[in-house]
């Protein structure tokens, strides 16, 4: 058989998804700005709250500050990897023609999205390991055993689905530079005003009903409920799943390959 004779075919779906996840993860590790968002900022905040006494002075919630700080910093980390990093990376992939290139490959739309989510989950495993390890070293004492573990996993998965959908939606409808600006702005707004670091009850009464509906509040409260109270946070998971459903539908309506 001659060397270029056609022999087309698509690799099996799991192999394509794995290859794409691996590629996106490798590129993220090489990108200092993405690493800063995903790991350095959450780790710095955790060290500030847990190792300097600053946590005692801020309204993190009832109980030991480090027990409240760890799940809330985990929520911030999930937000950064599943939303901010993903939105910015996808926006620039579109700008550089990568999405178009992949659109002309056997990857398929579901393969691309699954590969992206896979890369985000790998990053999150590292985030959780580093931040939980640091938290334990700073005296964090999670409670709840199996229920807490299930609660954390459920909240992380639903939160990732919701925020990844938001990131992909933003990258699909805005230019790359606008995505960069908007994703960073929203990250900061949610950090300050989205009940990530401060429980909803600490907000002015007029704001509470709105803040409570935000996916950031559900993510942070779900993680805090899991590790502070040791329960599976069904309400938070349901809220995040609803956000994921609505935003995922909008992504499917707005996604384009070029």
């Amino acid at each position: 058989m001659s060397s270029y004779a056609p022999q087309p075919g698509s690799a099996p779906w799991p192999r394509k998804v794995l290859a794409h996840s691996r590629m996106e993860f490798k590129l993220l590790v090489r990108n200092g700005e993405q690493l800063l968002l995903a790991l350095v900022i959450p780790l710095g905040i955790l060290l500030l709250l847990g190792a300097t006494g600053l946590g005692d002075r801020l309204p993190l919630g009832t109980g030991r500050p480090i027990d409240q700080a760890v799940p809330r910093v985990l929520a911030l980390a999930i937000l950064s990897s599943s939303f901010t990093s993903l939105a910015i990376a996808t926006g620039f992939e579109r700008r550089y023609g990568v999405i178009k290139r992949l659109g002309a490959s056997p990857l398929s739309r579901t393969g691309l999205l699954a590969g992206k989510i896979g890369a985000v989950l790998i990053v999150q495993l590292i985030q959780l390991a580093v931040l939980m390890g640091t938290g334990l070293a700073l005296g964090w004492k999670p409670v709840g055993g199996v229920e807490a573990v299930v609660g954390v996993i459920l909240t992380v998965l639903c939160g990732t689905a919701a925020f990844a959908s938001l990131g992909l939606l933003m990258a699909g409808v805005l230019r790359a530079e606008a995505t960069l600006a908007a994703a960073n702005l929203l990250y900061l707004l949610l950090l300050v005003g989205g009940a990530i670091m401060t429980p909803v009850d600490e907000y002015p009464s007029g704001m509470q009903s709105v803040v409570r509906l935000l996916p950031s509040a559900a993510l942070a409260n779900g993680l805090a409920n899991s590790t502070v109270e040791g329960v599976i946070p069904w309400a938070a998971a349901l809220s995040l799943a609803l956000w994921a459903g609505v935003l995922g539908y909008l992504v499917s309506r707005t996604f384009r390959w070029d």
Binding site: S2, S3, Y4, A5, P6, Q7, P8, G9, S10, A11, R15, K16, A19, H20, M23, K26, L27, R30, N31, F92, E93, Y96, G97, V98, K100, R101, G103, A104, S105, P106, L107, S108, W257, D258
Partner: protein
């Protein structure tokens, strides 16, 4: 000879602007077909309609008998696409990108052979953003053919290449055809179309204004293809 690409009365608009205006052409399997035309003639839009990136406002496009949009997932493994520009992450290394795209296919070409043939070895570990224009072009060409496609769509494949690189790409295109691959290329380069093509379609203002073999169009080489092209696409003189 079986038909690989069939475009019938294609119309594509961008807002008020009509990029492709009732264009029709067919491409026979196993041939090299050049789509030739001035800037803004609608060449890239036509090719992108075959690749599923543009939804026709009207008309019909079939590639290997499939609708590029409705049958996207079935068609994509069977075609190779060289984009006019970009198409790789800025931080990805050249050979890393090639290996990644190869992984998406069942029977990709041998990477080492392709790297050597297209002279990508010297820049294999260089991030895409630091590649020269010619290196990017050769990588993009490699990405289009690594999956052993039935049809390769090549959008201006030799733009920015030095004469050696250009001749090497031409030879690979001939080899592709000899091995049974259908090649559709857009180009401004008359010598490229004349040297490589079995069939040439001249496109202007979104329509095919002339079709034929290079021999037919040049009246058995009485004229150059460039003369023919200039005559066909000449702007009307001001009165």
């Amino acid at each position: 000879m079986p038909v690989a690409v069939e475009i019938d009365n294609l119309v594509v608009r961008y807002g008020e602007k009509t990029a492709v205006d009732g264009l029709g052409l067919t491409v026979a399997a196993g041939t090299v077909t050049a789509v030739l035309g001035p800037n803004g003639a609608g060449k890239t839009t036509t090719v992108e309609s075959c690749e599923g990136f543009r939804r026709p406002d009207s008309g019909r496009v079939r590639v290997l008998g499939l609708d590029p949009i409705a049958d996207h997932d079935e068609l994509m493994p069977r075609i190779g696409v060289m984009l006019q520009e970009g198409g790789a992450w800025s931080g990805v290394r050249a050979v890393e990108m090639l290996k990644y795209v190869a992984t998406l296919h069942t029977h990709p070409l041998d990477i080492a052979m392709l790297v050597e043939r297209l002279d990508l070895g010297s820049c294999g570990r260089t991030p895409y953003r630091r590649l020269s224009g010619g290196q990017k072009q050769r990588l993009s060409f490699a990405l289009a053919i690594v999956g052993r496609p039935e049809i390769a769509f090549l959008d201006e494949p030799t733009t920015g290449l030095d004469p050696h690189g250009r001749r090497e790409i031409w030879q690979v295109i001939r080899d592709l055809r000899d091995d049974g691959v259908t090649v559709v290329l857009t180009t401004h380069a008359m010598d490229e179309a004349e040297q490589l093509s079995d069939q040439v379609h001249v496109v202007s203002a979104g329509k095919v204004i002339a079709s034929g073999t290079p021999d037919d169009l040049t009246e058995h080489h009485k004229k150059s293809l460039e003369d023919v092209f200039l005559e066909l696409t000449a702007k009307p003189e001001r009165s």
